[in-house]
Subunit: 731 residues, 2 copies
Amino acid sequence: NLDLTFSHPFPLSIELRFVFQSLDYDNSENQLFLEEERRMSHMGFRCLEIRRWVICGLIGFLTGLIACLIDIAVEELAGYKYSAVKQNIEKFTEFGGLSISLILWAALNSAFVMVGAIAVAFFEPIAAGSGIPQIKCYLNGVKIPCVVRLKTLAIKVFGVICSVAGGLAVGKEGPMIHSGAVVAAGVSQGRSTSLKKDFKIFEYFRRDTEKRDFVSAGAAAGVSAAFGAPVGGVLFSLEEGASFWNQMLTWRIFFASMISTFTLNFFLSIYHGKPGELSSPGLINFGRFDSDYIPFESFLFFPYYFPGGMLGALFNVINYWLTIFRIRYIHRPCLQVMEAMLVAAVTATVAFAMIYFSNDCQPLGQDSTEEYPLQLFCADGEYNSMATAFFNTPERSVRSLFHNPPGSYNPLTLGVFTLVYFVLAVWTYGLTVSAGVFIPSLLIGAAWGRLFGILLSTITSSQSIWADPGKYALIGAAAQLGGIVRMTLSLTVIMVEATGNVTYGFPIMLVLMTAKIVGDYFIEGLYDIHIKLQSVPFLHWDAPPTSHWLTAREVMSSPVTCFNRVERVGRIVDVLSNTSTNHNGFPVVAHTTENEEPGKICGLILRSQLIVLLKHKVFVERASSRLSQRRLQLKDFRDAYPRFPPIQSIHVSQDERECMMDLNEFMNPTPYTVPQETSLPRVFKLFRALGLRHLVVVDDENRVVGLVTRKDLARYHLGKDGLEELQLAQT
Amino acid sequence: NLDLTFSHPFPLSIELRFVFQSLDYDNSENQLFLEEERRMSHMGFRCLEIRRWVICGLIGFLTGLIACLIDIAVEELAGYKYSAVKQNIEKFTEFGGLSISLILWAALNSAFVMVGAIAVAFFEPIAAGSGIPQIKCYLNGVKIPCVVRLKTLAIKVFGVICSVAGGLAVGKEGPMIHSGAVVAAGVSQGRSTSLKKDFKIFEYFRRDTEKRDFVSAGAAAGVSAAFGAPVGGVLFSLEEGASFWNQMLTWRIFFASMISTFTLNFFLSIYHGKPGELSSPGLINFGRFDSDYIPFESFLFFPYYFPGGMLGALFNVINYWLTIFRIRYIHRPCLQVMEAMLVAAVTATVAFAMIYFSNDCQPLGQDSTEEYPLQLFCADGEYNSMATAFFNTPERSVRSLFHNPPGSYNPLTLGVFTLVYFVLAVWTYGLTVSAGVFIPSLLIGAAWGRLFGILLSTITSSQSIWADPGKYALIGAAAQLGGIVRMTLSLTVIMVEATGNVTYGFPIMLVLMTAKIVGDYFIEGLYDIHIKLQSVPFLHWDAPPTSHWLTAREVMSSPVTCFNRVERVGRIVDVLSNTSTNHNGFPVVAHTTENEEPGKICGLILRSQLIVLLKHKVFVERASSRLSQRRLQLKDFRDAYPRFPPIQSIHVSQDERECMMDLNEFMNPTPYTVPQETSLPRVFKLFRALGLRHLVVVDDENRVVGLVTRKDLARYHLGKDGLEELQLAQT
């Protein structure tokens, strides 16, 4: 049941195997391509460059607009919801009957979540979750079906609005990265398959190499809009994607990021009625941390470094088992929608109970930033402090934990909140709704961080340096988030940009490093877990260090299906139709017949190219009979990109099967090759640095003896007891 | 006269040609190496990794300390100088005889500069200038003699203190990058040749690959300490150096940067008597820009974008001609010292004249940041505003142009200052002193930027938005600096980190982009000019776009000198001694005799390896006769690294010449190869992405037909009329 494999974003590798295609970052430099490049003037290349800049500008602008749309929609819907519930609660507080308020709250939450979950589960399951694992895979070079379609974007945006407005323990930041990537893929190709519209522009960019560059820019623009962190966005893209650092590309990515955060900031300032006051560069804003920390504190922060990694690992372990449970038992869309609704109702109920039973009343200050202060059973002029954390969008809760003055929370409130929110967040991530895990992680971390800060100040009973528990909340938030997602460089920069204080960089870096080291001891990062559960052939940065004893000979797949320079159509069709092998690249060799010794390598041709050739019936016999026939151009390949028709849809008659096809003009005549004795790290480095899809292994006579693909390299993995081989999906 | 070529950092390509060695970023995976790697356990690799982190921490710490030392020394010396001159001026203002003050000032300046210039010119000429071009070359893969020696560092630090204290129009920031790089090279190798001390630690890291990684970290730490910009430092290193983005490496570089800025900040806070107040993360501190700019302003900043590029180009053109003049006529050390002293005296004289004839008196405010306010002929309670700009270290002048309240300067002062300082800065850069060009550029830009801001506010006569000319000074500074050095991404991030306000990122980015586009129309960036004048084979990011019609066959050098797997010692010695060819890498082929068709490639061996083999007399005949002889180990190669003895120093007797040498164990058995038809961009990409030094070109039988080296690729260059071939120094 192939449908099933796509119906859930995280199929289990042991039960389900499906085919991941790889992206090809290596241009096929065949004759057509070289002719086109050689025809192009210097001016032509400059125009291309300008077009790339324009596209990046557009990507940034549209991504910023989408972020703006999400923010405003969530603000409005959540505002409406909280006002209604607050009114209701106030009405019933005096006369009793608060259970009606609870039911109202739970019903509103469930309704929002239901709408979002239905959209995701029934219309585009790939839009579930934060989308970061999928984009990581895409940037790594793995094609995930439907991941950069316009329809996915629409569902994603709609879904995330619903789930945040529905009060789930989720954030709206993660999905922005996915949204940016979709925008980039759409704009750069100048067409949308979902809308069946081709604007006939940017046709030059219709190949994997260029598209992936733009998707990097889109992801960066997404990060930038989400956190107001343009540099962090660039680093995120590079950390996840770029195999080869290209200055112009990086510069364009940065441009897109800047435009994106600027657009968001500008339109939000208009929405907030203060045009020009650019104070909200991202969807989440940590507020400014002005107080310079004492350097010794960064060592006193030390105890915090460990809980982050351990709590993060705990989060991941629980979520891992939960995900496996979901894959086994909750794979029907209606069940998924029901689970999401259940979580929404439970979230509201728990929050309500917490607020109801909390006795933590705080005076309502003049400069209070509370949006919806709930008085409940507190005295006049006071508000319920538990409600600040629960009766609010998570972004606001994070900000109040960072910035509310000392004494705003009592330790018990924070402790209970941490525990409850942790459970809710673990349960929520992996539901069939669009939602990110950044904000809940930050919130959990901020809560226990602040708690720790308060305890510390009680113990030391010093008022001077320890006065600000908000700092500890920040460090706790970083530790928790780092422990869950295990990002390092880019996350540090994102956090520093979001706090707007560069002196916090040092402790944040230490925290994130420790969280990663401690967490990695127990289990991988959340995104990596989900990537592994999909058994995606994900390539890490280096080959495992102890893999020097493996050589290309052991790693490669062989025997290899090769074609002759002039090949019989029938054989090509047969090979392509063979579903058991399903190869995507075929070395072209000189003068060989089957069952003989391998031939000398002359080139490499891709399945997609062969499909186009077959579709246009570019046969030797036809060329001579019909001289007027238009010569095949690169344009024909670009028009078919990226969804080349399957071989089954191409009809080849029995006569045509006997024709011959001349591959010389279309194959890549200079594929990269390595000798058999090359060590795995060397093969890996070549493969990764150039973003290859196929690497031909040759003997000392230049005869093809094997082919290395992504899967062959990705399966080696460093486990506890040394090198391990993984089970991976077919590539 | 080979000595001459080293005596000036910028020899002219047409007159002098000297040999640049390349670095090899590709490990020679010979049997010795593979055996060592295979012997190493998982734990062993982990220890190596920990050692790398420790080294990076040390690099950061030491770089921070050096920055601190420079800062304190400059502060103290300049403080002493300005106090003395100020006292003297005050003494003579009333009674006349200010010419004595002038002489005192000029003499003090000249004395400082003389000491610094003598150190540089006579002891280590490579320490002249900012060192950034040299580090750019090193990170690009070109070995510049003596560039990362301890002696160079000592002279550099001493020189920069003298030249800044000597009042030249220079900054102390650029040299920090060079200093960081030297620290990194020294620490990572665990020894110093200058001190003739080998600590016998970190021996594993004694090869180009590892060393270059550490030097990247050192350069980043230098940037970080100079500007308080750890992220900018990482991006600088990546922009200039990294051919392949490696996550762990980047993370380590970031660690070094963070440690460096933290160390500097911490020790400076102690020096300033406020331990723990981490307010000066870098040597230059722009101060905090708190006012959020109005987004429309970023478009009104638009007129600024052009002068930056044009003034930058003018700076570069003048400096280019000046440098050529210097190379031709001022190449003797004593002349160089005299020129430096002349410039110092002229700088003092001009500054004095400017202050003397200026009538711009400003009231001395309560919260004045003036360190040395000169009253001169102003009324009591007022100070001479021209003196703020001239009678001060350049860093302070920049800060006052950014932050002094509106009205602190009158337009005439700024206009004259811009002009004079421009001339002084152009003249100064390229003197035989250690000094950077960042600060003078910022200062020129800040002056005309502020001027522009004042004029604009006069024209619009609006007081609200235009009230802060400091903003315009910042944008002007960015434009001028961008126009001169043409850095993009890293410079944006450095500027943003130094201002500490992320919302300025957008206009700064626009300014730097425009400055680069406008400037590139006229002439290259300053660093690139100096690199080109040295005719260094510098590889850019991509091959020129219009080079698709060139193939490896046209690009490669041929015929290639090859060796047999078992080669006669006499032939090896003869080949290595041949000074006319001076090759560094030799393909090893199977069964070929000279004058026959080329042999099949079996491996690649380097000159350095052959030298070590010859030195240890690893001959086949000896191995059989002396069974007890110790087998050659990787350690022997590492001990000789990086200064392998020249072939002339190795004595080979006539008998030994007839011996045979077995290269099998020592050659790299799997060098990267490309077929002859490979296009230049493809060759370039492979070469650049993997940081190669030699790329073997083979025919379809795997026979060696040519060798591509750095020089072969670097000579293609996109000029005004299409592809051009450059004249380059031998590699």
